[in-house]
């Protein structure tokens, strides 16, 4: 829950998405699945080291969390992480309520919030000043929802999410630096490698 022990969006440190993505990936020791949302979430995941358990979205803005929920349902023994931007999540807020109802223990949602639609020209999102995505997630019923105050707390929150189970949502305020690199744009190859990485295909 949002509590006095957690920072609000307004006093959380502004961090860097690629730095945090690398720190997140470094904690993955059990072939956890990671769904990279369209755009910079995806690009930084790609650039942090390509894993067979990564799925890179090339379209369908807003569906990183639903795709991750589907993987989590199909493979309850595997932890699944969705990386999503603020604009994408705002497009599909209902998915937070669905996740809360299903309550998959093996699902963690990470939200990169820079308050802008960065890839389309930097237009402000609703989370720039008014909407609090952690409060929205908590209100949707995802009790383990928190802002990361700084990099160390991001690491601790993510470690706890992997260790203790969820569903949980971790939000990080990030700067407006563009993503590092770009994914290959071959959807069939991405999907096929991901299915191999999940042990579904040889």
């Amino acid at each position: 829950m949002i509590s006095m022990t957690r920072p609000s969006a307004h006093n959380a440190k502004v961090m860097n998405r690629f730095v945090l993505t690398q720190r997140l990936v470094a904690q993955l020791k059990h072939e956890e699945a990671v769904i990279g949302g369209i755009g910079n979430a995806n690009f930084d995941l790609w650039s942090s080291g390509q894993r067979p358990q990564n799925f890179y979205m090339l379209g369908s803005m807003g569906l990183a969390v639903p795709i991750a929920l589907g993987v989590a349902i199909a493979q309850p023994q595997r932890h699944v992480v969705a990386l999503e931007g603020d604009g994408s999540l705002l497009m599909q807020l209902g998915c937070l309520a669905t996740v809360a109802v299903r309550a998959p223990k093996n699902l963690t949602i990470v939200v990169w919030d820079n308050g802008i639609y960065q890839i389309t020209g930097g237009q402000e999102t609703a989370s720039a000043g008014t909407a609090d995505l952690v409060a929205i997630a908590a209100g949707a019923g995802i009790g383990k929802s928190a802002w990361a105050a700084d990099e160390d707390e991001f690491d601790r929150l993510f470690a706890a999410a992997l260790r203790d189970g969820g569903p949980s949502l971790i939000a990080a305020r990030i700067d407006d630096k563009p993503g590092v690199g770009t994914t290959d744009r071959d959807p069939v190859q991405i999907r096929a490698r991901f299915m191999q990485g999940l042990g579904v295909r040889r």
Binding site: I35, L58, G59, I67, G70, A72, I73, C95, I190
Partner: protein
């Protein structure tokens, strides 16, 4: 068809049995009055993981993830819901080659009372044809099991989605109470 028994008397029993016979274990829906008996039966059967979500494109995302994780899934919606999913079809399901099984309860025809439903129906088949998505309009109970079973197997084999449009001729549709 597998050796599992497929009931042939009532449309929603045939749909459920055919899904089960083809190991389709996940059903995600946005509610619809006409689909209610099917949805209730899916909820009541422990073979299935069945739940509602908030938007039809969300449902497509969920079954896409489940397919990649090794579980076959179906999406249930009504005609107006179909109008919300072309982007998810064009930018996720089709390019990624996901055999999503999409059931649409057909509104907007054969006694429709809501102009909006009638208008949105006019967009559905042209959109499906523009995207070259296989779709079958099912009007007869005696053809239902054959169409579903063969088409589910084809969708999985060729890794393409398929849409089953359930006509009021099959389901009875939604009646206008004047």
């Amino acid at each position: 068809m597998t050796d599992m028994k497929v009931r042939s008397g009532v449309w929603h029993e045939t749909v459920l049995d055919t899904l089960k016979a083809n190991d389709v274990r996940l059903a995600v829906y946005v509610p619809d009055r006409v689909l209610t008996p099917l949805i209730s039966a899916l909820h009541a059967d422990n073979f299935f993981t069945c739940f509602a979500c908030t938007r039809e494109e969300e449902a497509l995302g969920i079954v896409s993830g489940a397919w990649m994780g090794g579980v076959r899934g179906a999406v249930l919606m009504q005609t107006s819901g179909f109008a919300t999913i072309p982007n998810a079809l064009a930018s996720l399901v089709l390019p990624s080659q996901i055999p999503a099984l999409i059931f649409v309860s057909e509104r907007g025809t054969l006694g429709e009372f809501n102009l909006g439903q009638a208008m949105v129906l006019k967009t559905m088949r042209p959109v499906l044809d523009a995207l070259a998505v296989d779709h079958h309009t099912i009007t007869r109970q005696d053809e239902l099991a054959f169409i579903l079973d063969r088409s589910i197997k084809q969708a999985v084999a060729i890794q393409q989605p398929v849409v089953f449009i359930l006509s009021p001729l099959l389901t009875g549709g939604k009646l206008f109470k004047a």
